[in-house]
Subunit: 239 residues, 2 copies
DNA sequence: AGCATTTGAGAGCAGTGCTCTCTAACGAGA
DNA sequence: TCTCGTTAGAGAGCACTGCTCTCAAATGCT
């Protein structure tokens, strides 16, 4: 009945009710998103809650704010799925196995939540600029992937490919990312990880957005094949 | 004044006026798309044409039909850009140079027409199922890329990597594609080409849909670097 | 117990896609 | 050249959307 939120220990009754209300709105909005696709209707959500549409505005100042909340939740759900995929591999030294596990976890989450995935990675909403809070949530999944490379470099399983494979300006951009998130990781390895993440995103989007329709039937095998090829490119050894 | 359409040589005056009207609607719709983003308003288009909204329905039975027409046009424009990029490389034996030229042409087109690109490769419209005519137009760009591999295999510059790198079900899917579009090309090469195309799409989408914001500043160099790495993976030799 | 805050209802505005009816114009055949 | 049937466009209207504003009721805090 009362879902205790860990970050508000002695919340007032009103604040509690409010938090529950917000959760219910988001849940119903997610259901609508899954059923109808991207064009989420505030009025329809309100109707499903037995409320009038203007009441929703007590909890979300606009439809965009609701979408932002769903996006942040979505990034975190995807990040959780990715982290769980990584954690499910018991042999922590099996870098390739961990990488593949995370990629498949991302794909499975996307297939299970296509509308939310489209919200995260599809065409951006016209006048919509992603606020800061979305970008930190968005970073979790690539961070999980590149964390595998960090582990590999720390144990000596991966070595620095050297700076020669990167153009200078990219070198600088990646150094900034490395310094803020992946201390000690060579830029070339970071670049390889980013390439792997982009290809994972590309392959999932390609499949989910219908570009594979009528061409490839064995979707999972095809995805697995592609991710293995990326492992080769990254330099993740077969155990 | 009279843009002659090659496929209607002796069109009646009415048919000519109608074709021009359809073109004008599409042109204005494209302008709106570029300005406002994906949520195209029929009424706004009608207003810009000095017509009432219901008049548009004389030319397009629904908003979705207008979007479909724009999508088909977009695929063809992208296909033209890709083909022009390939044709711009005078040394036809420089497979890597041709591949990179096509990839950069795709990216340039996408940056110049972001809303149209999003229409083609972004989240699919909810109840919208792509009709057959879109898929044949969509195939032109990957066909240009894989045509480079066909050339390379024909001249002996590329060799069959062998079937071992493909799982069986994917093998069968690719064989069907090969037989209908790229006669004689080994499946493994086709698979490598598809991977390259998917990564090109992924990298462009990643950049265009804002996932690179605040991370990579040197966009073109980064894209170039990634495409070169894909050339390595595909096995396109440096000239 | 009283009060101030919060909540929801309801009406309303401007916009949307789409349908229907009606009139005016216009091209094609005689 | 003149008539006639097709067609383009106008206009009203329906159901829907996001959002704002006002008002009354409920509700938690002091």
């Amino acid at each position: 009945m009362c879902a205790t939120l860990s970050d508000m220990p002695a919340a007032s009754i009103r604040a509690r009710a409010r938090a529950e209300m917000i959760n219910e709105i988001k849940t119903i909005a997610r259901r609508h998103l899954a059923a109808e696709g991207a064009n989420l209707s505030l009025r329809a959500v309100a109707r499903d809650m037995g409320m009038v549409s203007s009441a929703i505005y007590r909890y979300f100042p606009s439809r965009d704010e609701l979408l932002t909340a769903l996006i942040v939740d979505g990034y975190h759900a995807l990040g959780d799925a990715a982290a769980a995929g990584d954690a499910g591999v018991t042999d922590r030294a099996d870098l390739r196995g961990r990488w593949l596990a995370v990629c498949h976890a991302v794909r499975r989450w996307a297939l299970a939540h296509p509308a939310e995935y489209a919200l995260l990675f599809g065409s951006p909403v016209p006048g919509y600029a992603a606020p800061q809070e979305t970008t930190v949530a968005a970073a979790r999944t690539p961070a999980t992937l590149i964390g595998i490379l960090v582990d590999g470099f720390a144990t000596g399983a991966l070595t620095d490919p050297g700076p020669s494979e990167l153009p200078d300006p990219v070198h600088a951009d990646l150094a900034a990312v490395r310094d803020s998130l992946f201390a000690g990781l060579p830029e070339a390895l970071l670049a390889r990880g980013a390439t792997g993440w982009i290809h994972c995103f590309g392959a999932v989007s390609f499949e989910l957005f219908g570009q594979l329709d009528g061409v490839i039937g064995a979707r999972e095998e095809y995805f697995d094949h592609q991710m293995r090829r990326m492992c080769d490119l990254i330099g993740l050894p077969c155990p």
